[in-house]
């Protein structure tokens, strides 16, 4: 008898935190310790999960917490439809369904001793936040860490409390920015689009890996900046956000060319992304 690959495990909402308008982080605890152990035996940063509410359906988001914290997982998502609304409507103490981890991960073990540059925009910080915390929890193994994060407005920045924590650490260079007009009177960060701020900052590409995650327009204009700084398509990583249903290479929804984003991704180098049929991205 083969196990049912669609059978979810049950997670209890341990905490809930509003990050930005319509954006919420749920902290989830496994209802069975065996499920927790199995999850963390497999989980690496960059992988995704499938979260659901019976009767409403399932949605796919990254796991936004690192494997260095094994008591819980966290996910951060915007309320945009039926399933995300049902998930956000769940109270602390109530349960949801979960499947995962699925997909490929960022190869951080091969980055020991290297410098890391994170470039994120808006709601796309969560997939990099798991990497950032994983790296910070193993801080001695890595070189300089630079984070460039922007959002349309100050209110749209997610993980505001953690941004302050990263800025105060002293071993991370954090640059935050908001789009022109998105600032508040007391805003102390940059004002400008992420690619322009990145260009001005000009982080050196020597021995550095870049992780870029954001809206397509931000990625489109950030890549030339990184290329000019000397980053190669092999040293820039991103994570694709194709619509998925099954997560296990069956339902055909996330196909891009001959690839399945759910199994061959979601983590890809920019070289891999450039080899895909661009019109299907």
């Amino acid at each position: 008898m083969i196990e049912n690959i669609y059978q979810p495990t049950i997670m209890r909402i341990a905490a809930s935190h509003d990050e930005a308008p319509d954006v919420r982080t749920l902290r989830l605890e496994f209802s069975q310790d065996q499920a927790r152990q199995e999850f963390f035996a497999a989980y690496r940063v960059g992988q995704f999960g499938i979260y659901g509410v019976p009767g409403a359906g399932e949605s796919v988001f990254c796991v936004a917490s690192p494997p260095t914290r094994q008591e819980f997982i966290e996910c951060t998502f915007r309320r945009v439809g039926r399933v995300t609304s049902a998930l956000q409507d769940r109270e602390v103490g109530q349960t949801i369904t979960f499947r995962g981890p699925y997909g490929t991960h960022f190869p951080i073990d091969s980055w020991r001793g290297r410098n890391l540059l994170f470039v994120a925009g808006g709601i796309a910080l969560p997939p990099l936040r798991s990497v950032i915390w994983n790296i910070l929890d193993r801080r001695d193994e890595f070189g300089h860490i630079t984070i460039v994060y922007g959002a349309r407005t100050v209110a749209d920045l997610v993980y505001k409390h953690e941004l302050a924590e990263w800025a105060a650490r002293g071993d991370v260079q954090l640059v935050t920015t908001v789009d022109p007009g998105g600032q508040t009177p007391d805003w102390a960060g940059k004002i400008g689009f992420v690619p322009a701020v990145l260009k001005e900052l000009a982080p050196p590409s020597d021995n550095c890996v870049a992780l870029v995650c954001g809206p397509p327009i931000m990625i489109k204009f950030s890549l030339p900046v990184l290329t000019e700084l000397g980053f190669t398509p092999d040293s820039i990583y991103t994570t694709l956000e194709n619509r998925m249903k099954c997560g296990v290479g069956k339902c055909g929804r996330c196909n891009v060319g001959s690839l399945y984003v759910c199994k061959d991704g979601p983590v890809f180098t920019v070289r891999q992304v450039m080899a895909m049929p661009q019109g299907d991205l």
Binding site: T95, C251, G279
Partner: protein, 337 residues
Amino acid sequence: MKVLEANKIGELAAALSAAGWRVLLPVEDGNVVRLAPWSPGAAVRTDVLPVNSLKDALLPPSEAIVRFALDGDDFTVQETPVDSTRTVALCVRPCDASAVGLLDTIFNWDFPDAFYNARRSAVTIVSLVCASADEQCFCTTVGGQPDATAGADAILRPAGGGAKLILEPLTGKGRALADAAGAMLADATVAADPPAEVPRRFDRPAVTEWLRANFNSPVWLDWSLACLGCGACAFTCPTCHCFDIQDESTRSQGVRYRNWDTCAHALFTQHAGGHNPRADQATRRRQRLMHKLSYIPERFALVGCVGCGRCERVCPAGLGIVEICQAIEETQKVPAR
């Protein structure tokens, strides 16, 4: 050899049904012929290809994959039974039988699918050699034959001008079926009729090569203008297997279903945030051709089309794989300027 009178298919179905098998075979259903469960009085029709394919028996249009018991905001996940009813699919066309090779691959790479595999293990596929073919048939173009045995557990070969059928078991399941048919089969020596002649309609490897180089060709727009995006091609296709997952619930019960879906539909790839990588019908029709004839060959070393021709037969706009592939061949004949 074991020989069955061709007009005794219904009796064979009745005998197998009485012995506890679920029997699927082509029967008249209104004004179409459908591969459907046999029932007493069913009008068996082996002269035409059923409108639906063998896929329906392995991946039904809708099936429960998770069941929940609901109690207010609380819920428990229940066991979801698989369907392992012993089944025989009689008089399946060789093109349909060969399609299970791709389905087996998709539903087993890395994550074996319990629902598919339960049905697959429980079914005995008895194909019927095609004595005739219509204008839409093109199995020989995509690696098949009207008397191919791929995917079949046993094959029926018409003999005596179609009056008799030679049953040739090909696997252990096929031999068990022949044993179960028992007295319905006579020992005789007859010569099989020649199978249908199915002309080659296009050069499949050349089309695949063109597809690999022409994702951005402007001709996709021309070739998709008539497409209504209805998805009939995908739903009748023996190899199309894409699905959606949707929940339904009452106050006490929740069910997570998987339902057939298709790349022809606009919502198939639409992100929650609004972005749709395939925002028009041209990109969606391109995906259908690319997936079958370029991506599946590249990924699994298989061809995603078995040449049954259903897509063209059911398309309200008369579109099909052949027409577009012949158009691709035509573009290659135009000398480069």
